[in-house]
């Protein structure tokens, strides 16, 4: 009764219908983004969900390369933006500006004066060479938090190396330990080092904002996505240091938690089974009708279960049980006995499960440009200042006039002149990923003029 009451309370507290009635934690924080693809742009995306204002600077016309990235080259049916772009450009304003141009640099500096955070993901030192790097900007705005996301950081032997998500995965060792023994190392089926990298980068921005609230001081933050994956490899480094052995690929088996593996059920679902405590393992044994196993000295404590020979003895038993039990039965037993069991979720599972919808993980945006689009929603739930998605990816430069009027104190006439010179641009190229969907009326969603 007590726990049900709590969950009811929580459901009311987090009610997705009330989200827009509540304040935003990062309201008033202005972030300038000069980034492409994901590692850079996702950091401000995460901040935007909690109310930060994001001004995305893009090359006029073409914009972010990410605007082309869509699975199998398939764009949404009405010709809207690439799926990868739609999602990650949530809540952002798009400004077309060519920062190579001296006059654009002046506009940029005006924006920086008003900004709290600047984020870029260029090669190390690029903006410094352009005369608008941290050394230049800190003089204009000492409260500025400047964060540079890239592959290998700003200095050191690898500083000249370009990076991508797949390179951070391969150079950090995570690809090496993912996959099966004697088969290929695997990269994640998602742009993991980008999305997860951008997240950990955002954490540092928040810590720096917290510090700035106390001291008034901004700072420079250097973030390497490869180093971030190295930090995420849990026990790898201590293990190698102590044993002299290298960490290898162990398939779906977690060799540090036992049991923890993926099996095939009677009804041919891929089912993960995991027990993090002895209590949970006892529950699994009960479910399997094998309480003797929980008493067996080889399996009764976690450290014993983890010994390679004991793992080898235990897994075939679980494998056979799962093979002879249907997923709905396993699911029921896992609830009854409190061990971990879940089937491998595909997009359909997540799309159709009301759990994810109630929790705002599946989020439908009714966008003035693109219409109703479903995207991955908000990861953490905050009851007083919940995250939200207001709109998704917008055409290149569509907010140029609004942003430069409001944040750079330029007049409509000045902006128009800059546009005629090609310094800035509010129009997009007529090509896939750049042009807005045919269904758009050309006006909805544009703030000004």
């Amino acid at each position: 009764m007590g726990r049900e009451d709590f969950v009811k309370w929580a459901e009311k507290e987090f009610d997705i219908k009330k989200v827009f009635e509540k304040p935003e934690a990062l309201e008033g924080i202005v972030v300038i983004e000069f980034c492409t693809l994901i590692l850079g742009p996702a950091t401000p995306s995460y901040l935007s969900e909690f109310g930060a204002t994001i001004i995305k600077l893009e090359l006029p016309g073409m914009g972010d390369t990410m605007r082309s990235l869509t699975p199998w080259g398939r764009f949404p049916p009405d010709g809207a933006h690439a799926m990868g772009y739609l999602k990650e450009s949530r809540n952002k304003y798009s400004v077309g500006i060519d920062l190579h141009h001296p006059e654009a640099k002046e506009v940029f500096k005006r924006l920086i004066k008003r900004a709290d955070v600047f984020i870029e993901n260029l090669r190390a030192g690029t903006l410094d060479r352009w005369g608008i790097g941290y050394r230049d900007l800190v003089e204009i705005n000492p409260r500025l938090i400047y964060i540079a996301n890239n592959g290998f950081g700003q200095w050191g032997p690898y500083v000249e190396r370009p990076s991508y998500d797949a390179i951070a995965q391969s150079e950090s060792g995570i690809a090496w330990i993912t996959g099966f023994p004697n088969e290929l190392p695997l990269k994640a089926g998602i742009w993991l080092a980008d999305y997860y990298g951008a997240l950990v980068s955002a954490v540092a921005v928040l810590a720096a904002l917290y510090w700035r609230n106390r001291t008034g001081e901004g700072q420079y933050i250097e973030f390497s996505q490869a180093e971030n994956m190295i930090r995420a490899l849990d026990w790898t480094w201590i293990y190698q240091c102590l044993t002299g052995k290298g960490r290898e690929r162990y398939g779906n088996r977690d060799v540090a938690i036992c049991p923890s593996d993926v099996f095939v059920s009677k009804d041919k679902e891929y089912v993960a089974i995991g027990c993090a405590t002895d209590e949970e393992f006892k529950g699994l044994c009960k479910a399997m009708g094998r309480t003797d196993l929980a008493e067996d000295p080889r399996f009764s404590t976690h450290l014993e279960r983890l010994k390679p020979e004991n793992q080898e003895a235990l897994y075939p038993i679980i494998k056979e049980w799962v093979a002879n039990t249907s997923w709905p039965e396993i699911d029921k037993l896992a609830s009854q006995y409190g061990f971990g069991a879940e089937k491998v979720h595909c997009a359909k599972d997540m799309y159709t499960d009301p759990h994810f919808e109630v929790r705002g993980f599946k989020w439908t945006v009714d966008d003035p440009v693109s219409g109703k689009v479903v995207v991955e929603g908000i990861a953490p739930k905050l009851n007083k200042t919940p995250g939200r998605i207001k709109w998704i990816g917008r055409p290149v430069g569509v907010d140029t006039y609004y942003v430069l009027t409001k944040y750079a104190d330029l007049t409509w006439k000045e902006i128009r002149e800059l546009e005629e010179k090609g310094v800035i641009g509010s129009k997009w190229k007529d090509m896939p990923g750049r042009r807005p969907p045919k269904t758009w009326d050309g006006q909805s969603g544009i703030v000004y003029p």
Partner: protein, 447 residues
């Protein structure tokens, strides 16, 4: 250092290194040094990682364990322990005070309430409502401490149809529920003869928990920034499954428009080609060439202009059957070269393409084993790895944080502490318990 600050004649890398190299960390302030955090997470590395992040930024973190210790201390490869600790927790005990408290005793709960009044943040990972039922959940604690930021971590979250399913939060469960496992792994090459390895595949590390921990730290800091403004704490719900799921590219959008799943494609990518790992003479290498000029340069490097003609635009290149076919052709070039040879050839070609104004960049990368990673000079120069000498656990190699910061760099002060080692210090400092009180509580099984 300071006088060099605005000197634009110093090359950028030297200039910034003088400000953010971790070797200059000692003596600099810490971003979160005024924060007090309780981490009462249990058997959950998402909780441990969240509090590690805060502690690396300088927060005072009190890890509360039951007197028998957190089962997370036994999460360790093949059951190997070091001075009694599992290696997974040993890595995430950093900078934390470790105290014990039995929350199932009346006195234990009272002590917890007293501690909760004095801290800024609580992190827990029990099933939803467990703390509430004990009378020490957010609803109760926030009455006396309205500034409290309370973060609950659980696979199925604190609400929603599955919140009360009672199933355990384990990394692998988070991974498979995130949608990431489904799209990771080798595709079945021959449907009549599928291999055991051609299945959905989890990330090798505790990726579900690390993503959960990072999102928890993100949410906590966001809430603290709001608290600076409003004076109010709040309640945070983090599901590590959703935390990792937030990273699934465009899976939900694709399902909305096309009612199909993006299936697993091994080391290929539904959205980019060429962008994959190839076998080479001494291992595996990464090569890219996605946009037209880059693809064109790649075809030139491997002396296969026919491939450029066959797959002239991204639309041809993204077709899965074409990807598989082109992959085989490119691998013919990589297979008899060492990684270093490939790297040199590609970088030289990039240089020439730039000089000639023709453009195009092909990016090479190496698939490196963790053993080789740990022996790569670059990471030692950058302070990514350090040999850390801990008074209890001795000298160990650990990975440092991925952020270098000019003003408030993160740092590791100690690696871990045994169960209850800081009982005396923390209980005395925060609650005024003396040696005798501690002894009594111990005898009663409270700590």
């Amino acid at each position: 250092m300071i006088e060099k600050k605005m000197d634009n004649t110093v090359p950028w890398d030297e200039w910034i290194r003088a400000l953010d190299d971790p070797k200059y960390t000692p003596g600099k302030p810490e971003a979160l040094s005024d924060l007090w955090v309780i981490d009462v997470s249990y058997a959950n590395m998402a909780g441990a990682y969240a509090s590690s992040i805060l502690s690396e930024f300088g927060a005072n973190v009190i890890k509360i364990e039951p007197p028998t210790g957190d089962p997370a201390r036994t999460f360790t490869p093949f059951g190997i322990t070091h001075k009694g600790e599992g290696l997974g927790y040993l890595n995430e005990g950093r900078n934390k005070y470790h105290i014990t408290l039995n929350l199932n005793t009346k006195e234990g709960k009272e002590i917890f309430k007293k501690l909760a009044k004095k801290v800024d943040v609580i992190i827990e990972s029990f099933k939803p409502g467990v703390m509430d039922e004990l009378g020490i959940g957010y609803r109760q604690l926030s009455v006396e401490n309205p500034r409290l930021v309370y973060c609950a971590i659980y696979t199925y979250g604190q609400y929603g149809p599955r919140a009360l399913c009672n199933k355990a939060d384990v990394d692998i469960i988070n991974q498979v529920m995130s949608g990431v496992t489904y799209v990771t792994g080798e595709y079945v090459k021959d449907p009549n003869n599928p291999k055991e390895s051609e299945v959905p595949t989890k990330e090798g590390n505790w990726m579900g928990w690390y993503a959960g921990g990072a999102w928890a730290a993100f949410a906590i800091l966001t809430a603290l920034i709001w608290r600076d403004k409003s004076g109010e704490g709040q309640f945070i719900d983090v599901s590590p499954a959703e935390a990792l799921g937030r990273c699934i590219n465009y899976a939900l959008t694709n399902y909305q428009f096309y009612e199909d799943n993006v299936e697993r494609v091994g080391n290929l990518d539904a959205g980019v080609f060429c962008y994959t790992y190839f076998r080479c003479k001494d291992g595996y290498c990464f090569l890219s060439g996605f946009a037209d000029p880059n693809w064109s340069l790649l075809c030139e490097i491997i002396e296969r202009p026919d491939l450029r003609d066959k797959y002239p635009t991204v639309f041809e290149r993204l077709n899965f059957e074409n990807q598989k076919a082109a992959y085989k052709e490119i691998e013919k070039w990589t297979i008899d070269k060492t990684y270093n040879e490939i790297f040199e050839i590609v970088m030289e070609a990039n240089r020439k393409a730039k000089e000639s104004g023709k453009g195009g960049v092909v990016v090479p990368g190496k698939v490196v084993s963790p053993q080789e990673v740990m022996h790569t000079e670059n990471w030692w120069i950058r302070g990514t790895f350090v040999k850390f000498e801990d008074p209890i656990y001795g000298e160990l190699i650990i990975a440092n944080q991925p952020w270098k910061m000019t003003k408030t760099p993160p740092r590791v002060k100690w690696l871990c502490r045994p169960v209850g080692r800081d009982n005396m210090y923390i209980y005395q400092k925060l609650l005024g318990f003396g040696a005798e009180d501690i002894k009594n509580l111990k005898e009663k099984g409270v700590i």
